[in-house]
Symmetry: D2
Subunit: 343 residues, 4 copies
């Protein structure tokens, strides 16, 4: 049994991580920390965990967390970098679900996140936890930075086309849509049901933190800078991301369906739909799968990729557990085999 700690278990990625960990056959939860809720029984805050988890939130303590083999950070940006160096020093592996270690370039990170990075020396060591690209490095990593929700869907969708040099890397457009849980579990007027319900809007068109993250990931594939327009939208639903991706085809005669099927045929968590199909976010709700379809509309030179994930699972907590499985040499699907429910 792997001894596991969770720092920051009171948000949506936190409770989702707890749901997956309490059902994971190789995990023993040692500590779940929260400064604000220390002393509260976790199942009192999250009644879905009644009968499955008997722990109480504790204040984060390095001594306590150092007894774990791996510590997950399901915290706001800027928290993991405060404790990660000491934990790594103590021999504990660290998996960050937030953004602290996602960008390689400290200047870019500080520009987009607006704070000073406390351990820039770890940025080079941190492995970007997208197993479909970095599986080998993840297996050897001490510190894994789980990708953001949008970046997971967008990168997985563009990847086969960029790797095969089938599209113009300057022509990328990602029109992405997210359910409200992507904004987290914190009091805010715009995320009230009275505000976000029964309405649809774009936001942050002039700049979103996931834009440099996606650009970094795609540039690593193309080896040349990509031109990406990224427009996120808010959907009046709780879970799910739908990325609609557009690019200009360089090779108009290639069999795109085969390209996608072959790229992902060994991947347990990427599901390519048959030609002509349209994924729905509910197909992957609650599970660690990215479901995709590739289309070439009659207009001809533009390829359209449709990619859906659950932002809290393959876009956060599920991918984090997938990374843990890889880091601890477990079968990659351990604890991640549940079936989505429908409706």
């Amino acid at each position: 049994m792997i001894k596991v700690g969770v720092v920051g278990g009171t948000g949506y990625t936190g409770v989702e991580l707890l749901r997956l960990l309490v059902q994971h056959p190789a995990v023993q939860l040692q500590a779940v920390t929260s400064r604000g809720e220390a002393g509260t029984r976790i199942a009192d805050l999250f009644p879905n965990l009644r009968g499955h988890l008997n722990l109480t939130f504790t204040a984060p303590s390095l001594d306590h967390l150092s007894q774990c083999e791996v510590v997950f950070f399901a915290t706001p940006n800027g928290t993991a970098m405060q404790m990660a160096p000491a934990l790594l020093q103590a021999g504990v592996k660290v998996i960050d679900l937030a953004a602290d270690f996602r960008l390689n370039d400290v200047a870019v990170w500080e520009q987009w996140y607006g704070i000073k990075h406390l351990c820039p020396e770890l940025l080079a060591e941190a492995v970007y936890g997208l197993p479909e690209i970095h599986r080998t490095e993840i297996a050897k990593a001490r510190l894994v930075a789980c990708p953001g929700c949008y970046p997971t869907a967008v990168q997985l969708g563009f990847l086969p086309l960029l790797e095969a040099k089938l599209i113009d890397p300057q022509s990328l457009i990602a029109d992405a849509k997210s359910g409200v849980s992507g904004a987290g579990r914190k009091a805010s007027i715009p995320m009230l049901m009275g505000e976000a319900g029964e309405s649809f809007k774009a936001y942050n068109v002039l700049g979103h933190r996931h834009w440099p993250e996606i650009c970094q990931g795609l540039t690593a594939v193309t080896k040349t800078p990509v031109g990406l327009t990224f427009v996120p939208h808010l959907v009046p639903m709780i879970r799910g991301i739908h990325a609609t991706l557009y690019a200009t085809l360089l090779e108009p005669t290639v069999d795109l369906q085969s390209v996608f099927e072959q790229r992902y045929q060994q991947e347990p968590f990427v599901d390519i739909l048959p030609a002509g199909a349209h994924p729905e976010t509910r197909n992957v709700r609650g599970v660690n799968i990215c479901q995709m379809a590739v289309h070439r509309p009659p207009s001809g030179k533009t390829v359209v990729v449709l990619a859906v994930i659950d932002n809290l699972v393959k876009g956060a907590a599920g991918q984090a557990v997938q990374n843990m499985n890889i880091m601890f040499s477990l079968p990659e699907t351990t604890g991640l085999t549940a079936v989505a429910w429908l409706p």
Copy 2:
């Protein structure tokens, strides 16, 4: 491995049953039938099952189904009674998720369901599949009638009070609310999202088929006729039932919290919340639990019970699997231990 057949796998209770059965460690699915979808891959109709179920819908065939040890009917009312006699004759156990065998009195059944019953002789044999009351009989049954969704929540809520003779059996009021999946997966204007979304209404105030079923169940407890007012409502959400139950207390000084906790302390699928708490339907979404709280408002002589279930799980497919587990001497929670996700 238990050889299992499912008749009518294209509705919401059907696909939910398939979700539970493909994850059940002791089940081998032999046949899933549908007249309308015969020849269609099940996972093409229900993409959540991709990678988990390779079967194709077949037309229902007695020969084929007779090779099963148990057959579930997830069909419209009036279907199970057409095939159940022959299957029982062939030594196959039958679990009906519809209403064909829920009422003991054939005249009452025919009055409420508007058709002639084809095998009234089986009504006496059929066991009403509410394990919290009939576990012993279920274990020995060949034919189990799973309770309706509203009747599950309402009976479990009134049960401790009636068994302990704490309330006036003539004073029962059940104000029940259901998500839209309770109406099934069939084309209808009132269940369009444009009609049922962002609105709330009562329906069938002058008579609902679950009323005689609840009365029958409660009368069996009290041994005297009950007076029950039952008002169902439609909630603009997909899954969940919330029953708000009212009755006049006969014993105003009793510790109601203890009565509920003691009645259900051995029940794996009934969860009594602490005093003062309010269950939410999402706490039990996707899982086989009835979560309850009991309150005595300041007005004094009225007790209020709040009971929530997922109408498709504890109110249908999950309870059906629970019954199967009992009938085949498996641990009752086998295949039913998943954790609800939140949000």
Copy 3:
């Protein structure tokens, strides 16, 4: 043109009031105040008002507000009582949409609202603004306390039965359901779409501030104390209240449909549906109507009343405008004749 001021225009009742007032043919908006948003163009905060309202929020000022003929308070509880005495002194009529003047008994008010009342001497003068009962007094009032949203629906529903002495006043049960806008436009975790969406729950079963308000109103009709059990619930929709009311009939043979139709036949904003119908909250969304149906289920002695309103219109801002019309001798429906849209 009536010179109108609005104190506290940044909440949901505030913006709804502004929507109604900018379309009202006899109103001239003089001032809309907000401490927090002073200096902000109102239409920048509420883009639905672009092109209809050119005012800017100002800090509340007695000098400025005293130039109005009437001032509405769409503020949190405890605010109107700070300014109302001075405004009345200055000859300005006051209509409070909050709770400061709803209860006659200062001790009861202070118990339920947890603060000291600043002008208890005005409680006796304030008129409870439910025109279907107090139209004559409203016409002469300087200070009107608009009813709460639940109390509007519950009182209008029980009124015909209590006035005609058809039900046992000790047997009242109000199972009430509200959309999320009833909780107002303020940052809070429980009202996030991720929390309130796709779920249903009861709340405050052991005590809600609308309970003493309803009891006071109904007792004024019966002249004897009523026994009322009141259970509010939260519905995953934005607007609407559905009250399902239960009581024990004393006169089982009376024609209840006629009782309701006759009681409200002169009322422009109460709509009695034909026998057997079920109102839906969407029927009255955005409009100042209470739509009702009365049923007697087969169980016999219990009467069921179904009453729906829009909590922000007939339950708040619309009723406030209706009161203003009465106070200024305008036709009561002035500015309140829009048609609900569907879907």
Copy 4:
């Protein structure tokens, strides 16, 4: 008063048209027809119209409709073309909310709609009812084809850029999102709340009937064929369209905000938001406005236009009334001045 007939008043565009017409100060409704609901009181089918409309649905009759000055068709595609010739012959103006007269080229029409056109000779005469482009022709028209919902938003969004030759007409991408009411009020499984709720998907990526309509409209502006990729999506909400438009800028230094503001400064129903803003569909819910913002993300050469409408108002019934106002020389905003409510 204009004598008005409505053919096909039982769908969502029909009931929305009735809502607008009963409040229109210059309209007298003469007949509302429906084969299926003939004899039903309209307000019984649509309770929002109770007290506002006393008519009963009648079977469509040429004699009866010929007494109108204008007849609206809120019918499925293929219906208006059956009666339009005779009505025009009788001197009645015709406004079609469906697609029968939207395309100039009969061959293209028959290819996309799959049926033979019954009066191709009228295609040349019919005026495309987008007042922001064709106001002059609409004023003189006998037959107006109201644009589809997506085409309204997409064309209004691209128009200023194409007219000013600021973008490459081969580079157009329209990522469009619609609420479920766009699919109409007809029984269908995919539009059940259990299917469309809490999920998001693209559909018809390989071909949607609005694609040739948009191409026709934009080509008329550019005078050269446009290259348009159009991807519609279904949003789990009832009303609203959000079009996110992308194109490659030819003139990277132009002040796009001014271009949009100047193009639409005289338009009563187009509202350009300030630079940096994001429209939300709820801002225009229930009203006849297209609200837009234009952005140039940091990637540089791609312009992003965000355009929202209510698909049933500016995308259907409201635009139809706007066209009627123009055809009858009324002020264009007559009957269309209501304020959207929020939330």
